[in-house]
Symmetry: C2
Subunit: 332 residues, 2 copies
């Protein structure tokens, strides 16, 4: 097989993206130069942050280019190598998803062991997703035992791990919000002490009912009314780790903003944005903790898998609409 | 003289307070019981945070009571004492302002030395005001040398010290905003590298012009559009110490809120509210630094003094309207 397919950005979305913003393109399977490898991708990740990269604005990662392949986390099998230390058959994690075959410098790939865990886990619970949950909760928000934790988008890949890690680390109460009754049920099955559907009334009221004694830590994946509600419910010296604000990624108007920031003063609250890339120093500790929890059956993780590179745009759109339970992946 | 006058809260303000919310009341000069002292107040402080205490809401300090004297920082001379270690003639700092004579437990007063500095300084540069600036800038926002600093309400008592301390601690650039051309001139005289009148166009534009390379630290006394502008101008890993939000203390509508909090994520920003009361451990270091700077003529401080307890409400209203330069005090 000498043909590879990949997804290009055909146009920049205004507001919610549609299938028309993407294009499936056929290309040749590349040949590696010195120091390079070719990987046949098995799974690729779609993530909310990719929506921001579809805008032509300066940010912490450069915007996607028009008429060029998108990129993002992927895992696959090496099929050709001109690099020392990596051979065909190895499984590697790398950053060139959205395509069937990836050509990259071997230095940009990390070998993973497919016998320790399903390879998809390196994109979710054992990968960036897991480390995001772990670092945001324990490092950025500095959760301590006996504290009360709230996480939004809690049935998503990061949120569901945040809640479970919080319980494992001794949180007194863990509350999650999600977007459907089925997700709320799933959160309860995962061990959340309380969960609510954010469509059922004001988030502020739902949170106060779910955490009557207030919260000490908020892990924010949503922004807007969720952040406002969290600030309202925070106890003295509360901390919010700001991981994402999916509520506003597709907004064409200025987004809703918390009106109660003055509470930061009297309650001495801290809001802190973070990117997982700044917390690589926690990786070893994370892998050790998470591997142990997985081995002992203490952590569950959900994956929603869509088949075929041609369906990657639809998987991404479904993610933005909240159709995933846990990690949204494309089996390439 | 056996009569003392004090200011009572006659009614709770809705929106901007007026003179009608206050009442001047004559009472007897009290007599101290065991362990108590009576202080003839010389100066009392009016502060923005007092506006919040006029509302009947739970907060970090209890609300003022109707038909009872207001309170707040004051300094005066002991005229009667039934407490060990404090004698008539001593000068003390305490929390019962808004009255000519104060009766209090000696434990609630702190002796100060009137020969080291004018007694009013213990309410401003050497007191809570100075410590607020010092702790917020150096501890909460953790300003380091060669960083760029923005402070709002910069001609106020706290703001003018923030800017000067930042320069003394090696800030690469210090920018202040204020509410009149005269205040802007004063900031330049105090050594600010740039200053602007927030009435002149959008704060966001003025700040970008004044700090074209961005800011690392924001000391917030205002909230709203100032905070939004600061977030916009912040460099990676920027920090905001949230000290006050005077822009919204009198608001009857939900206040303007920063619409750009999603920038916290990519820029890894931190917003942290604080109260000076949590930073008492810095007092010794603060007094040592500040006394040295004052002795060496490296810090200037402004006071706006209103005479007469009967004019204390007007002093407070003037403070909210921004009529003060530096610390607003009432000479009792």
């Amino acid at each position: 097989m000498s043909t590879s397919r990949e997804i290009h950005l055909a146009s920049r979305p205004q507001g919610w993206p549609t299938a028309d913003n993407f294009r499936l393109v056929e290309t040749e399977v590349p040949t590696p130069g010195p120091g390079q490898i070719v990987v046949r991708n098995q799974f690729m990740s779609v993530d909310p942050y990719m929506r921001g990269r579809m805008n032509d604005v300066k940010s912490y990662v450069p915007p996607f280019q028009l008429d060029a392949p998108l990129d993002g986390g992927a895992v696959g099998e090496v099929v050709a190598s001109e690099a020392e230390g990596i051979k065909p058959g190895d499984t590697v994690l790398h950053g060139l998803g959205w395509r069937e075959y990836a050509l990259l410098d071997a230095k940009a790939a990390r070998k993973v062991d497919p016998t320790l865990a399903p390879v998809s886990a390196y994109l979710s619970v054992l990968g960036m997703t897991g480390l995001t949950a772990y670092a945001g909760l324990l490092d950025v928000a500095a959760m301590k035992a006996d504290e009360s934790v709230f996480v939004s988008a809690a049935a998503g890949s990061v949120g569901s791990l945040v809640g479970q890690i919080a319980k494992l680390k001794g949180a007194s109460r863990v509350v999650g919000s999600a977007g459907s009754p089925a997700k709320v049920e799933r959160l309860k099955a995962l061990g959340f002490d309380a969960a609510f559907d954010y469509h059922d009334g004001l988030v502020r009221d739902s949170l106060k009912a779910a955490a009557p004694d207030g919260i000490d830590v908020y892990f924010d994946n949503v922004g807007g009314d969720h952040l406002e509600a969290a600030i309202s419910s925070m106890n003295l010296h509360g901390r919010a780790a700001i991981c994402g604000m999916i509520a506003q990624y597709n907004a064409t108007e200025p987004p809703a903003a918390p009106r109660n920031l003055a509470l930061l003063i009297g309650k001495r609250l801290t809001l802190r944005g973070f990117l997982v890339g700044d917390h690589g120093h926690l990786r070893d500790q994370f892998v050790q903790d998470m591997s142990g929890w997985l081995r002992d059956g203490k952590i569950s993780y959900d994956e929603t898998v869509v088949d075929g590179i041609e369906n990657a745009p639809e998987a991404f759109l479904g993610l933005l609409r909240g159709e995933n339970l846990g990690k949204m992946l494309v089996r390439v």
